[in-house]
Symmetry: C2
Subunit: 331 residues, 2 copies
């Protein structure tokens, strides 16, 4: 196993310690619940926003806790949803008079943990709202899902509700907004390699040297088919087609285009595919006015990428323009 790791069972806590060390004074770490939260939250004049999910998808979500994005993230172990006590205790720690918003990627384990967490929090008088993200068009049901999976599109949901919450939106408004963003956001991914969870020590699936998995999930779940590797043009065309027809996105639409790396693909290749997809969308009359290229929602060191479109309007443009201050930084 080629990883920078000590005891594999301590991989997540040691990563969280690193995030804390890089953000003194801005973030608080609660080891008992793998919780990273804003040091300046909760506040009774703002809804608190909490994400769970498994680890191994970083920067999602523990590295995007900060003003304008998440107020807290309480991940489970690598590729495992958080236990329900992480959810309930994190919800209590983030409790605000305006309520707590749970953003859940649609996986069965995550949903069960958050359903129980919500029930117990409400029993203690905490107001809880829920948004379920399911942007992946690849497959209808999957290994870990009833219905579609939630993947990189959750960044658009989080950015919108994060900004709106800073502007003072209440819990019901945020739930409606988040669902509205999810409804206009679609993603599909493709993998060239597998990945190896630290505590498991072996790849989660086998794939040939000349193969790719079309429509892969972010835990290596099967997608639409296994195929021979194609050119970047052919891959971009397949991803664009799968995503565009699904909403559908139509000529005249204004969209955000995200090319998200799955962990092991260099950013040079992400920009190469971005340029191709941008030209293909332009040819269809779809106007890309916001561009996101990099790693957002990954699958450890998997080589691969996903393409996300989010249909824009005046309100979303305003919210996406708002500042965000999160752990990940470049100069």
């Amino acid at each position: 196993m080629k990883k920078f790791v000590n005891d594999p069972t301590q991989f997540v806590p040691e990563m969280l310690q690193g995030i804390m060390a890089a953000n003194p004074g801005k973030l608080t770490y609660v080891p008992d619940y793998n919780l990273i939260m804003r040091a300046d939250m909760p506040r009774d004049d703002k809804v608190s926003i909490l994400q769970g999910s498994g680890s191994g998808h970083e920067p999602a979500h523990v590295m995007i806790v900060g003003k304008g994005m998440l107020d807290g993230a309480c991940p489970g172990d690598v590729f495992a949803g958080p236990p329900s006590d992480f959810v309930i205790e994190s919800t209590k720690l983030l409790n605000s008079e305006k309520g707590v918003l749970h953003i859940i990627n649609n996986y069965t384990g995550d949903r069960m943990a958050f359903d129980m967490g919500r029930e117990l929090a409400e029993a203690e008088g905490i107001r809880v709202g829920t948004i379920v993200v399911n942007d992946d068009v690849a497959v209808q049901d999957s290994t870990h899902t009833t219905g579609r999976r939630g993947v990189a599109g959750n960044f658009f949901v989080i950015k919108a509700v994060g900004a709106a919450s800073e502007r003072g939106a209440d819990l019901d408004e945020l739930v409606a907004l988040g669902n509205r963003v999810n409804d206009v956001t679609r993603t599909m991914g493709i993998a060239l390699t597998s990945c190896t969870p630290p505590a498991r020590g072996t790849p989660i699936f086998e794939i040939g040297d000349d193969e790719m998995e079309v429509g892969v999930g972010i835990h290596g779940e099967p997608g639409r088919r296994r195929d021979k590797i194609k050119t970047a043009n052919e891959i971009a065309e397949e991803l664009v087609e799968a995503v565009v027809v699904d909403l559908p996105y139509e000529s005249g639409d204004e969209v955000a285009l995200m090319i998200n790396g799955l962990g092991g693909t260099p950013i040079s290749e992400l920009y190469l595919v971005f340029g191709i997809a941008h030209a293909m969308l332009t040819d269809r009359g779809i106007n890309v006015t916001r561009s996101y290229v990099g790693e957002y929602c990954t699958s450890l060191e998997m080589a691969g990428l996903s393409l996300t479109l989010c249909k824009l309007d005046d309100e979303l443009n305003m919210l996406f323009d708002d500042p965000a201050d999160v752990a990940m930084r470049i100069f």
Copy 2:
């Protein structure tokens, strides 16, 4: 070869097209010289700052062109310095009354191209200043170098002179500042895997499943030794020790700590190592007050990382706090 690529010989131009597509109105692309430059430069009230280097190290340097960082970057092909005509023509296009600053990583090919570029530019009456970055402590001379190699530490040089140039510093001041930053910046890297340039199609070196290259160069050049993979703690200790003793950094010093991914290592592992290195420096009385974790100067999809320290003072803190607006963005 598991890459998102069309014609491998067009890898760099297609990547540059993607960067342009993501940054309309902000950047200009001059295909003849692989030049990405700020659309609002040159200006006669600001020194223009140009980097060259090979491609394959992205985001260095074509993705950090923007206000407060580089004014232009004219990379060669993957792992190849720019031809000298790229340098001379890019220098002409960036010509300002205040002059043009060349920032060169110390590789023989890059230095020859920039030496010739400077000579020809000066013959046309352009004022040129030069900074050579050589922050890598691993080896004294190397495959492609007389003297030490320039690696991720160039980000601190670029950030400092980029900010100072926006504040109005003249060419001589910037050369002195850049040399001063280089003098207090040290890096060492480690690789767990090799990488494959697209047009070559095969890995640039072989490495066993249980091996690591200590002190690797960003083109896969050999470092200090080949060894069996060690724990994250042992690796961090070796990198910290190699870098700290070299300046040396001493108890009471205030430093920036950068953990830079080489392309194929997940950001979770980078933060894990960051946390360990941060604690080791704290134990030595060295105070980490600025934190940088992510991919800055990569080697395609190589799994590995480097550790950089930059010794801070009031002027550098002020310059590092200044805003920068570059192609890479997160929310």
